[in-house]
Symmetry: C2
Subunit: 258 residues, 2 copies
């Protein structure tokens, strides 16, 4: 996520960088699961350590986008193995060397859009998007009590099947890009609506807050928040409204325990 909250400097002071645990270039990242090929989901791969071993999971569609972009060859195959995930097939992410992480992940298609840089204007209203372009993840502890974390950083609609899947979840991290669909136009920050970008908005009778009100989800956290979204302002009425509706607005350095 590139969108920084306005109190970024305070957060840096509150969360000093951690020192590496092993050696000067160690990182705790041992496995990466991609949900989309858009820049805000894949560009971070370019800033990882050159010799960091990890495994990279994505749908065949997203892997093919990475494969056609030679810049991702900075992910040296000696250190990074790319593994294809299939929709609706739970799997256990493993390290580069095959060690299981103790988690079970299931990816499922959600309403969304092909990556901006792969849009095909000739393909009609959905720009050539397919089911594997945008996925959500269900993450559980392998052999645990079954409580689930759902991660959906981009989602354009809440069809009944998706609601049924998320119902009663222990923890939901959900697309909080915009407060309202025409927010970027209203602020002079852009010409696209949320729907055009593949994002549901928070407010209104068709919005996220209303859509999740009765699903019995224990904790709901907005992530992937655009810098036009007024919920980022701690003293805004919109922030008060999402919090009153039982949502938390994510911040840099936030830690969650399931």
């Amino acid at each position: 996520m590139f969108n920084a909250s306005p109190d970024i400097r305070q957060q840096i002071n509150d969360n000093p960088p951690l020192h590496p645990a092993e050696g000067v270039r160690h990182s705790p990242i041992s496995s990466v699961v991609l949900t989309n090929a858009d820049v805000d989901h894949v560009a971070g791969l370019l800033t990882l350590r050159e010799s960091q071993p990890f495994s990279l999971y994505a749908t065949s569609r997203v892997l093919s986008v990475l494969a056609e972009n030679t810049i991702f060859n900075v992910l040296n195959p000696d250190f990074v193995v790319r593994r294809q995930l299939a929709l609706e097939q739970p799997f256990e992410p493993r390290t580069r060397d095959g060690e299981p992480l103790g988690l079970t992940v299931e990816a499922f298609a959600v309403p969304g859009k092909v990556a901006l840089y792969k849009e095909d204007a000739s393909a009609g209203a959905n720009f050539g998007s397919v089911a594997e372009d945008t996925v959500g993840l269900r993450i559980t502890e392998t052999g645990g009590d079954g409580r689930s974390l759902f991660y959906l950083p981009g989602c354009a609609a809440l069809p009944a099947g998706l609601k049924a899947r998320l119902k009663g979840a222990a923890l939901l991290l959900f697309d909080g890009t915009l407060w309202r669909d025409d927010e970027m136009l209203a602020q002079g920050a852009g010409v696209k609506t949320g729907q055009r970008m593949g994002h549901l908005s928070m407010a209104g009778p068709e919005g996220t807050i209303a859509g999740f009100a009765d699903l019995g989800i224990a904790r709901k956290v907005f992530i992937h928040i655009n810098n036009t979204n007024p919920v980022l302002l701690l003293d805004s009425p919109e922030r008060a409204e999402v919090e009153a509706a039982g949502w938390t607005v994510a911040r840099d350095g936030m830690e969650l325990e399931l």
Copy 2:
């Protein structure tokens, strides 16, 4: 450059972000000149505003690398025009709409290396590098007094012809990646030497400090500094040595006037 100096937090406090001059998404960047296709030179293009108009100059070689990577299609051609520059041919960078910036730029080949992700191991010791892979820039005010700023963020050697070109410059921004060639190996931070990465080092009889000692350059600034380089530590003997030799170590937020 991804390499941050250790006093980054102090620098953020010293240099608060500027507000946009025009509209909420304005940026002063109206033209970009690339000197190389490596991630640290091109990945920043992916984080610019989606609808930011600018012109992008590079050699045909670097432009072809961008063209073969679809992710750079986030640079919407409605806003970003790509223009090919030729070595040794001074040109005036212009905005997207053709307005001259008042500067004259000349690009010239310097000893270097093809981008890491385009290395061809079968091509021998230089990995298939060509002259257009790594360039330096001479920048002067159009119609001014001819004083020059030279920008060379990556340079692997100082042949006589390059020295002659830089002699007597008003301002030099030069590759300061490493203090010594085997620094990353010595610190356990990597397995490559500076030479393997296409970078001259600062120290020693063949190093940058010695190489530029007698060229009469008015101001010499090290840029592109790796986080293993001890000159980043304000109290290191290496920092004292480069400053005693007349060099400045660049920092985030630094402003230079010619």
